[in-house]
């Protein structure tokens, strides 16, 4: 019998925080497409004698994110030095968190979170041939920009669920206002630890004895391709009875295959030790509670509220909530419309949502006020006037006496039929809500 192989995948998600300054110095953290080495100082350049000094906002952002992931916040946490040599790492160590990160544990979107910690980003390398010599160029603008790392448990078994999880994380981060988490701009980066478990291992709830770390994933597309190629490679190898080894692999886009970058034998020895230059962080339950209170309404809560409060369909609520700007636009447009027409106005939340989603009117009008104005124009043109509706309703009620009496004796369903008949008379131009109201008024008379 052929053994079924199940992918076991854990994620390491790096998110660059959108603080104004870097993690350990007061240089601007907004490094994207700036001239090289123009946003640097002795601290982020690792000059002799320079010392780090922690940015409050970066710490708070990480803790808020942890709270949103359902993590436990450590009451005592600290920074550590992680050592390795690479030209874009100016101090030869990265200030990170080892055994006492800000956040441990958690559960988000059905996946278990292992930890969330804060560390500094490295500089950036560009590879170029200069005067015929292959060279690497270094820019330290990104050096020491705050980078949050979330590590999940190996709870993923397919690529779709990874993408959906990441999109949820991206959304939460944007709702918290702590990062754009833009993969294309590198403010969200990903590593996936992939292995395959056979059915015995699955039954025994055991992890495979190897895992392959897939590095530097910088887009959802890349993730999809690289991970599926890697899963295929491992499947084929295991089916042939080959042993797989612990290693780090990269993805070659041209060859559409993964290649080994580093095996376990030359695994790194990071020589972590506590960062003596930075006093530890001590929190109280009270501080954490207060931080919890500063967390805004998150996507899931908003989704539920939109469905309940505005009677939006699940689809509509989902679409609006998946873009915080759009959700805010929607609520603002509704507020303005209601202040124009009064509560319970004919211009319903659903209409606004519909115009935004199906007719993309929010793209046409960057300001909600514009949309509201447009809706007024549209409704006056598109919908029949109240007088026309009243006339149509009157004749429908006369022409369909049986249906009316059925309704009065308790068959509520016939209202649909009456609405249909009225719309037919109005050539479909009746505002459904008004048609319904007028019909009910007429029947009750």
């Amino acid at each position: 019998m052929k053994n079924t192989l199940i992918p076991i995948i854990g994620l390491e998600v790096h998110i660059e925080l959108a603080t104004k300054t870097k993690l350990f110095c007061t240089c601007s953290a907004d490094h994207f497409s700036k001239k090289p080495n123009t946003q640097v100082c002795p601290i982020c350049m690792g000059l002799p004698g320079a010392l780090p000094y922690t940015n409050y906002e970066a710490v708070i952002s990480t803790i808020k994110f942890g709270l949103a992931m359902g993590s436990t916040i450590n009451l005592f946490s600290k920074f550590d030095r992680k050592h390795y040599f690479y030209p874009d790492l100016p101090k030869s160590y990265q200030i990170s968190q080892y055994d006492l990160p800000f956040c441990v544990g958690g559960n988000f979107a059905g996946k278990r979170i292992r930890r969330v910690h804060l560390e500094e980003d490295t500089g950036k390398l560009v590879h170029e041939t200069i005067d015929g010599v292959k060279s690497s160029l270094i820019d330290f603008n990104r050096s020491s920009v705050p980078l949050m790392e979330m590590v999940t448990e190996p709870d993923f078994h397919d690529i779709e669920s990874i993408i959906s999880f990441l999109k949820d994380v991206q959304l939460i981060v944007r709702y918290l206002g702590i990062s754009n988490a833009d993969m294309e701009k590198g403010s969200m980066r990903l590593e996936a630890n992939i292995s395959l478990a056979n059915s015995e291992q699955v039954i025994a709830n055991k992890l495979p004895n190897y895992r392959v770390e897939l590095k530097n994933i910088n887009s959802f597309k890349f993730l999809e391709k690289a991970a599926s190629v890697e899963i295929k490679r491992q499947t084929e190898a295991l089916e042939k009875g080959e042993e797989l080894v612990q290693e780090t692999r990269g993805y070659n886009e041209v060859k559409q295959s993964t290649f080994s970058q580093r095996s376990k034998a030359d695994a790194h020895d990071y020589r972590y030790f506590p960062e003596a230059d930075l006093p530890p962080i001590e929190l109280s339950e009270l501080i954490i509670k207060n931080l919890q209170l500063t967390i805004p309404e998150l996507p899931e809560q908003k989704r539920v509220r939109f469905e309940k409060e505005y009677e939006l369909s699940k689809d509509f609520a989902n679409i609006l909530v998946s873009d915080l700007d759009r959700a805010n636009y929607f609520e603002e447009a509704l507020r303005q419309a209601q202040s124009k027409f009064g509560q319970g106005a004919t211009l319903s939340a659903r209409t606004i949502a519909d115009l935004m989603i199906n007719r993309k009117l929010d793209q046409e009008f960057p300001e909600p006020a514009g949309l509201v104005k447009k809706i007024i124009e549209l409704t006056s043109v598109a919908y029949s006037s109240n007088e026309e509706v009243e006339n149509a309703v009157k004749s429908v009620l006369i022409e369909n006496e049986k249906a009316v009496s059925d309704y009065q004796t308790g068959n509520g369903n016939v209202i649909g039929f009456l609405i249909g008949m009225t719309q037919k008379k109005l050539q479909g131009k009746g505002n459904p809500q008004i048609v319904r109201e007028k019909l009910l008024e007429g029947i009750q008379k």
């Binding site: 007061t26 601007s28 640097v40 002795p42 922690t54 940015n55 409050y56 710490v59 560009v126 170029e128």
Partner: protein
């Protein structure tokens, strides 16, 4: 404690990014062994229930506000320590090995 071997010295030199000559390795090996033996005395101290000390200032939560301040160095200042630069970048020989981590 295990005795320091020549292989240990070579391994440590690689970790520390030091290119040691054979002469240097042969010189350092007995010196490092002697020092390690001396500090190995610490193994005899009973440290049950003791928490490690990594700093003595006794401070916590030393944090600064998130406000940009002008840097004391501009691009020229940043690059002033070397002549191996190109268009505002630091220049090194092509790095062939992928970055090991982040």
């Amino acid at each position: 404690m295990a005795k320091l071997s020549k292989a240990d010295v070579t391994h440590v030199a690689r970790l520390a990014k030091l290119d040691l000559t054979d002469t240097e390795i042969n010189k350092f090996l007995p010196q490092l062994s002697q020092i390690l033996e001396h500090v190995g005395e610490l193994g005899k101290v009973d440290t049950t229930d003791l928490t490690p000390t990594s700093q003595t200032a006794g401070l916590t939560n030393v944090l600064r506000e998130d406000e940009v301040k002008p840097s004391s160095i501009d691009q020229n200042g940043a690059l002033s320590g070397t002549n191996k630069t190109h268009n505002g970048y630091f220049k090194v020989d092509a790095i062939l090995t992928e970055r090991s981590d982040k």
